[in-house]
Symmetry: C2
Subunit: 432 residues, 2 copies
């Protein structure tokens, strides 16, 4: 085996492979020998001691070492990591990777190279760290047609939203604390803007729906615009706000999107707090299943990497990879549902003039766009002029809601553009 990239996760993988070599040999019948660990930095101290001669910076030695059959790519990024992965596959090595950006943005070429050389790419660690959701989709739920799948797949965002919901902190404070606590990077952009969640969604959707997914076509909205006020109103109405990565199979095609959404307090996902991840998957046979665990961190991610190494060693990963559609087998692109056609429930909040007849005007605009109200909330306000009005809608077409919002903004009794947040409803369980 060879390990390319000796950062936090790399150190965790080396730790497991070295410290548990006998355990693993006993429990799997396979003995994994870590022959190379390649990193540009061979000086920095890591929390694991490698045998002499294992750590070096020369990738060529791995490429040319015929004894290396499994290579773990933990370099990260989509450029150098992509070239390295291509070369490892071309050199006849199976590749285990945790690189979600690479697979979601350049998966097609990576998978094609693997097939061309009869190798496989295993990537349990690319989504939700140690939580074995990739295996669940690919193996455990293989008999199902997936109706919907949505999850909390970014621990940083969930930590921030949990702090806002539970401690009443505002976004900036919660983010600063997440950074101080090590749950957020110094530059948290890719986490808080939803990009990281979209990377994972693209990969999970490829497997769940057996089609290639154009990562660039996924609409993404992060949590950076979330207002504590809306979290509070949501709680009052019995909902929790989470950043969700969503895949829904509908009439109009497959809807893939990432955005903050309200979920009912009774749903398992609403209870997931802190840096944990959780995904709910609805299959036509199995119904509702959920998976929960640590989505990041040295040991949880290393746990998934080594699980893949074992499956590759057994030959199982190769057999599954060869047969799995969506990973360059069918070549078919998923037919994506245009955002405007997505059916969903919505939470709307607007500042309205506190005067008789105003609510009727608002309801009339919504009604004329075919949007019906399921619940609403208006508190007595200390301010005599403008009052916040919160409305929960029934299922409505996103396009109609957008134009209704534009119309509402035109009303002189409504101040500013209303806030609009999706409300998730699990697919009916009648399918069971």
């Amino acid at each position: 085996m060879a390990l390319i990239g000796f950062g936090t996760v790399g150190a965790g993988v080396a730790k497991i492979l070295l410290e548990k070599q006998d355990d693993l040999a006993e429990s799997t019948g396979l003995r994994f020998v870590l022959k190379h660990v390649v990193d540009t930095d061979v000086e920095r101290k890591r929390p694991v001691a490698l045998p002499a001669g294992v750590l070096h910076s020369d990738l060529e030695r791995v490429i040319n070492d015929g004894q290396v059959s499994i290579a773990v790519e933990l370099v990260g990024g989509t450029t150098i990591a992509g070239e390295i992965t291509q070369r490892l596959l071309a050199a006849g090595k199976d590749v285990v990777t945790a690189n979600k950006a690479l697979l979601s943005e350049r998966g097609r070429e990576i998978f094609a190279t693997a097939r061309q050389h009869g190798r496989c790419v295993a990537f349990e660690a690319s989504c939700c760290g140690g939580m074995p959701v990739i295996g669940a989709i690919r193996t455990g739920l293989a008999a199902n047609r997936v109706a919907a799948m949505y999850g909390i797949v970014n621990g940083t965002c969930n930590y921030i939203l949990s702090e806002m919901s539970q401690q009443g902190k505002d976004y900036a404070t919660a983010l600063a604390e997440a950074q101080a606590a090590g749950f957020a990077e110094a530059d948290p952009t890719l986490d808080v803007d939803g990009t990281d969640s979209a990377h994972k969604l693209a990969i999970m959707a490829m497997l769940a729906f057996g089609r290639e997914v154009d990562f660039g076509a996924i609409p993404v909205e992060g949590i950076d615009g979330v207002d504590l006020e809306d979290i509070r109103y949501g709680q009052e109405l019995g909902y929790a706000m989470k950043l969700l990565a969503i895949a829904e199979q509908g009439e109009g095609g497959l809807s893939l999107r990432v955005h903050p959404a309200f979920i009912r307090a009774e749903e398992p996902l609403s209870q997931v707090s802190g840096s944990f991840n959780a995904v709910s998957i609805f299959g036509d046979a199995v119904g509702h299943t959920s998976y929960y665990g640590r989505g990041a961190g040295m040991m949880p991610t290393a746990s998934a990497v080594v699980a893949d190494v074992i499956e590759v060693g057994r030959g199982n990963a190769g057999r599954s990879f060869a047969a799995t559609r969506g990973l360059g087998v069918s070549g078919e692109q998923a037919r994506l549902c245009p955002a405007a056609e997505v059916e969903s429930r919505f939470y709307l909040r607007m500042l309205a003039v506190d005067r008789p007849g105003v609510f009727a005007q608002i309801g009339q605009v919504l009604g004329s766009h075919g949007i019906s109200i399921s619940a609403c909330l208006q508190h007595e306000s200390e301010r005599e002029d403008w009052v916040p009005v919160v409305i929960m809608t029934h299922e409505a077409c996103e396009g109609s809601v957008r134009s209704a919002l534009a119309a509402l903004t035109q009303l002189d009794v409504v101040k500013e553009r209303p806030v609009c947040i999706h409300v998730m409803t699990p697919p009916g369980e009648e399918m069971q």
Copy 2:
């Protein structure tokens, strides 16, 4: 393929194999042909139409059909089902089964026969229906040493306890309604007395700890003795009562047990209500992971059976089975921790005389047995003589608690033997 046993789950499996044959061929590259469905009753109407000639009652035709490579055993029970499974394996067929009783009570001989003939036994469906927990333990968490695992693995009991907790119904009423709603059998004994949960625990423990488990050695307590009063006091203290199947690796060995237990309201499992199942598994690398889904029912269980059929068809199940310890490879028995040595927190409720100094007496008895109190609860009572006193202890040795209870029962200020219920505490996350 052949299907032995054409009951509810059998019909679900046939439904998926027939209606999704093309889907499965497309998504897995394998085409499964259902050639035989064997059942003693070939007349009864089932919710699926089989091609002519497929349904018959002659097992011999399957045994002697060299074209049949995968047989699904859905007969149930441990006697006839055992003989059938042995014969199918001896005839060179891989066997997929949902039979938890058979594998937990006679697994050793079944697995031995499979190995002797180079076949495999796949049993995802034997534990928690469609929730892919077997695959998670065996594959997703393969790099972990499991520290603890506990779960809600019987939907009937969870439905009853949920009704008691949420609707305030007593046990008898909740059971009657569960039977009316079809969540409980006409004879619910094996569910409510914990036997069914113990069957699943034995199987999951074999995989998680890589040792053979003596099913008969698992202490089992059901929910038939649960008192609504204790559920209410537990809720007041921030706990939910669940019937848990528990496996904990400790100094004294592996503790396997099934009993009602209180879990903190913050834990994912406490939120699992109705007939759903959920299991929390704590690995040394991955930390806390949880799995949630429907533990029974026609289609959820069929979903797991077909998932296994696919893995057997790919050859993955065989390769994993051959290497998996605990399934007759090592032959080693798990070293079980004697019940008396199990460390746990406990909930105690007793009727005590409402008189000064009584609480001191009770505390003194507990203290003298090395049991310290973490919380207690005593409401003002309308009755002037006896009052219920509820005590939550810190970690204590079960043996000491039992003798403390005996001592308390001797006190003339305590009426009757106190109620004693385990309180689960998740293993410390410092391991991560």
